[in-house]
Each structure stands twice: as structure tokens, then as C-alpha cells.
């Protein structure tokens, strides 16, 4: 018995830290979401989330996250597949992976600055398009401070994350499977449709979920890019914490709770899909 007590003592600092600075603060918000100002249990705050302003902020957040996750998956997959099986020289892979490692961590305020300097009203690409081709993208309705602008910016960390995760999965496709399919008379299209994609499907879906959560919780990039002109959920929550713009603290807790639910579900999907994907990778 004394032995067990001594063993537990060794991880006490970790549990104390996790409890104080991770679990309790989160629980506090979750509990607050189900309390009225008098501290009684209520569902009113969650019901309050259905107000048009909050619904539309969740809608645009989910739309940006879906679009950037989907495009990130597609483009990242194309680039990873090109390197792994596209017949390009082998030396390209190492720099691409290194760059992906850097770019997937290059989020936040500086990323917003980079895109303003490139695609803002006087950014490099905006100017070049106008000078060289006479195309004024802002006259055509493009705006960096919009749904597509934000999605385009998020892709800068979404694509590299996809490349980092999907490259090992692509490398895990065994040569024998392709050969077996070819011996049986399958075309390249059939091999992809009936062998490779079904095997990769859990990895793809899992990474999609991870990318979704990744952009859903991002605050700094959006805030530095759009200020408060595009009210996605994290921006609205930021304003709420700073100055109670919803004029109801408990509605703020409910909003934060809603964020945890969305990112939690997305991460759950990722974990489930990854376990399924690993079945084939032994």
C-alpha cells in the first residue's frame, strides 16, 4: 500500500499543474455555460446561442473552417502525392517536409501581415496583376478581409499540416498492392478508386477533421487580418472577454462551450479515423 502511495506521488506535480491550469479553468467555463447569474442550473444560455448574431458567427466560422480544411486537404494531398509517387526527383521531398514543418507553425499575427503585404490593396501581387495584366482584383470583388481572403490565408498553415500528416500514409501504400491490382488487370484509375483511396480514406477524413479544428480555434490570424469586421466565433469571443459585447457573461461561457464542442467533435473524429487508418499501416 505504501508503495502505491509513493508511486502516485511522482506524478502529483503534473496532475496538479494540469488540474490548475487546464482542467479546472475549462470546467469553470463549461459549468458557467449551464448557470444563470444567480448560480442556478439552466439551459437558457445554450438557448441564447440561437440568437441570429451568434448563429451567423458559428455559420461563417464553420464555413471558413470547412473551406480551408477541404482545400488544404486537396492541395496538400496533390503536393504530397506528387513527391511520393509522381516521379519528381527524390531530393525535393526533404526541403518540402522541412518547409512544411516551418509553415505549419507560422500562424498568427505575422501571417496576416504577410498576406496584407501580398494581396492587400497595395500588396505585391495586387499591384503586379494590375500593372502587368490590367486586372484589378479589388474591382472584381476580391477582398482580403472576407470569407475567401481568410480562407486563402489559413491555407498557408493548413496545406503544410496536411503534407506533414499524409506523406507517411502515402508512403505506407505497399508496392505489392499496386502490383497485385495490375496483375489482375486494373487500370491506374481503378487502382486508385478501389484500392488506394479506400485504404487512405480514414487518414484523409481524419486529417480533414484535424484541419477543421485547427482553423476553427485560430484567433490571432483572423484578428490581425480583419480586426473585428468579420465576426467569426473566436473573434466574437475575444471581444466578449475584453468587453462583454453580448451584455451577458453567461452567454459568453455558452459560446466558449460551443467552441469546445465543435473542436472536441472534430478531434474525436480524427482519433477514431487514425485508429482505423493504422490498421493497414502495420
Amino acid at each position: 500500500m505504501r508503495q502505491i502511495g509513493w508511486n502516485w506521488l511522482g506524478i502529483l506535480p503534473f496532475f496538479a499543474f494540469a488540474l490548475l491550469f487546464l482542467v479546472l479553468p475549462t470546467m469553470n467555463i463549461v459549468i458557467g455555460a449551464f448557470q444563470n447569474p444567480q448560480g442556478q442550473f439552466t439551459f437558457d444560455n445554450l438557448a441564447g446561442l440561437t440568437s441570429p448574431r451568434i448563429v451567423s458567427s458559428f455559420a461563417i466560422s464553420i464555413k471558413v473552417s470547412l473551406a480551408s480544411a477541404l482545400l488544404g486537404c486537396l492541395i496538400g494531398f496533390a503536393m504530397a502525392a506528387a513527391v511520393v509517387m509522381g516521379g519528381v526527383p527524390g531530393w525535393i521531398k526533404a526541403p518540402l517536409m522541412t518547409f512544411s514543418g516551418v509553415a505549419s507553425n507560422f500562424a498568427g499575427v505575422p501571417l496576416a501581415f504577410a498576406f496584407i503585404a501580398t494581396l492587400g490593396r497595395v500588396g505585391l501581387v495586387t499591384m503586379l496583376l494590375r500593372q502587368w495584366f490590367g486586372i484589378n482584383i479589388y474591382a472584381l470583388g476580391f477582398n482580403l478581409l472576407s470569407f475567401w481572403g481568410l480562407t486563402l490565408t489559413y491555407l498557408f498553415f493548413q496545406i503544410p499540416l496536411m503534407i506533414l500528416i499524409i506523406t507517411p500514409a502515402l508512403e505506407g501504400l505497399k508496392r505489392e498492392w499496386r502490383e497485385a491490382a495490375e496483375v489482375l488487370g486494373a487500370s491506374t484509375g481503378q487502382y486508385w478508386r478501389m484500392v488506394a483511396l479506400p485504404i487512405l480514406f480514414p487518414s484523409l477524413l481524419g486529417t480533414f477533421a484535424l484541419l477543421f479544428a485547427n482553423s476553427f480555434g485560430a484567433v490571432a490570424t483572423a484578428y490581425a487580418l480583419t480586426g473585428s469586421s468579420l465576426s467569426i466565433v473566436p473573434i466574437m469571443l475575444f471581444a466578449q472577454i475584453r468587453g462583454d459585447v453580448l451584455q451577458d457573461p453567461h452567454l459568453g461561457y455558452a459560446m466558449a462551450f460551443g467552441m469546445i464542442v465543435v473542436t472536441g467533435l472534430a478531434n474525436l473524429a480524427y482519433v477514431i479515423m487514425r485508429t482505423r487508418a493504422e490498421r493497414w499501416m502495420r
Binding site: 482542467v23 502525392a81 509522381g86 505585391l124 485547427n214 490571432a220 473566436p234 478531434n267
Partner: protein, 260 residues
């Protein structure tokens, strides 16, 4: 045919990543009308606020690494040695910061440690600094833990411990002089990643009202035209430096870098 598509994907993707970098560098040089100059960098570097916030964030990042190592190394070691059945639980906890958005965690801090609470950390500047430090340590936790745990998996922890104990070493000595040096490569790669995350962190610092580099960059971005581009170049260089050193270390020590 396949090769054409591959090159097309890589070149288009490459353009997407290169253009913002080129655009930022070009923009940061445009401050003087009609010619390229380093005026924006000069303006940023001579700004007292830049120096103050940047050094604040560097100190915070270094402290975060120290705190992270102090929490993660003994725990990961102890779990491997004595409580292997708890590993999934610990692993789950260390992954929580990837699931719970930082903005929610810091919202919880503000509510839990406000001036009328049992532990009024937000009441004083040093208390808030401590709170921010702990927040950063939670942000770094997933990366740090996974790096160290991977490093430990290459060691025979049990034999090493028994050998040290039979020579009369105590726990602090075993962890500090035996385990830590053996997972140094892993610790370093976790440390550089933590540094890259903390140095430009915005959300937590802004909401806790601390004079960190992230909020400073945001403020400058709202008020100036060319300096933000110069800051972005500096920030990218720091990130690139951290990650480059990290990859170098992991190649030297032969440990794998954990992807997210």
C-alpha cells in the same frame, strides 16, 4: 503525363507559398518613396516598445521551456518506470491543449483567478505573468510531452535506473544527471518548437493584458503600413531559425520530430 501533373501541383503550390514571402519582403523595403530601403527595419528596431516586448517574450519563452521540462521530464520518466498503465491517461491530458482552444483556456483563467477568487493571480503584474507562463506551458505541453516520450522510448529506463540506484544515486540525481542528458535531443526539439510558439503568441497575452510581442505586433499592424511587413519578416526568420535548429538537432541525435 503523371510527371507533368506532379510538377504542376508542386509549382503552383510552391508559388502560393513563395509569393507571400516575397511580397512581405518587398513590402517591408518600400517605406522610402521611389526606392528600396531598410527604413522600416530601422524604424522597428529603434522602437523602444519593440525591444521591450520582444525581450519580454523571449524571457517568457525561455521560462516556458524550463517549466515545461520540469513538468514533463520527471512525469514521462516516472510513468514509464512505475505507472505504465497510466500512460494513456497522461497522454490524453497532454493532448487536451490541442482540443481546447487557447482562447477558452485563458477565458477560464480570467474567471478562475480573478481578484475576488481564492487565488487572485490576475490582481498583480507578477501574478498575471505567472498565469501567462503557466498558460504557455500548457500550450507547449503536447509538443514537449510527445518529444520527450519518444526520446524515452529509445532508452531502457528500468535498467538505467537500477544501475544508477545500485551505485547509490538519488531520484534528483537520476533524473537530472542520467535521464535528462539521455533525452536531451528530444528535449531540445521540444524546446525550440515551444520557443517558436510562444514568441509570437497573441491570444493569451492580449487577454491577460501583458506587454508581449504578439499584441505589440497586432497594435503596430493596426497603426502602421510598412513596419508590420518588416516585423513579419523578422518573425518568420525566428520561426525558421527555431525549426531549422530543431531539425538539425533531431538529425544529430537521431530522434524523430513529432508532427502535430
Amino acid at each position: 503525363m503523371k510527371r507533368v501533373w506532379s510538377w504542376a501541383a508542386l509549382i503552383l503550390g510552391g508559388l502560393y507559398f513563395l509569393l507571400p514571402l516575397i511580397g512581405t519582403i518587398e513590402f517591408s523595403l518600400r517605406m522610402r518613396r521611389g526606392e528600396y530601403s531598410l527604413d522600416a527595419y530601422r524604424s522597428v528596431l529603434s522602437d523602444a516598445n519593440f525591444r521591450a516586448t520582444f525581450s519580454y517574450s523571449v524571457v517568457m519563452a525561455l521560462l516556458t521551456i524550463v517549466l515545461g521540462v520540469l513538468i514533463v521530464v520527471p512525469t514521462a520518466y516516472w510513468v514509464r518506470l512505475r505507472l505504465p498503465r497510466l500512460r494513456p491517461v497522461i497522454e490524453f491530458i497532454t493532448l487536451l491543449p490541442l482540443v481546447i482552444p487557447a482562447i477558452v483556456v485563458v477565458f477560464g483563467y480570467i474567471r478562475l483567478y480573478n481578484t475576488s477568487s481564492v487565488l487572485p493571480l490576475t490582481g498583480t503584474a507578477s501574478g498575471t505573468n505567472l498565469l501567462l507562463l503557466c498558460g504557455y506551458a500548457t500550450l507547449a505541453l503536447p509538443y514537449m510531452y510527445r518529444a520527450v516520450d519518444t526520446g524515452l522510448s529509445t532508452l531502457d529506463v528500468r535498467s538505467l535506473t537500477e544501475a544508477a540506484q545500485s551505485l547509490g544515486a538519488g531520484w534528483t540525481r537520476i533524473i537530472g544527471r542520467l535521464i535528462l542528458p539521455n533525452v536531451l535531443g528530444a528535449v531540445m526539439s521540444g524546446a525550440f518548437l515551444s520557443f517558436a510558439i510562444v514568441i509570437g503568441e497573441f491570444t493569451m497575452a492580449a487577454l491577460l493584458n501583458r506587454p508581449a510581442f504578439g499584441p505589440y505586433m497586432q497594435l503596430l499592424g493596426a497603426n502602421r503600413a510598412y513596419e508590420p511587413a518588416a516585423l513579419a519578416v523578422i518573425a518568420f526568420a525566428v520561426t525558421w531559425g527555431c525549426m531549422g535548429v530543431m531539425q538539425l538537432i533531431s538529425r544529430l541525435f537521431g530522434t524523430r520530430i513529432p508532427a502535430k
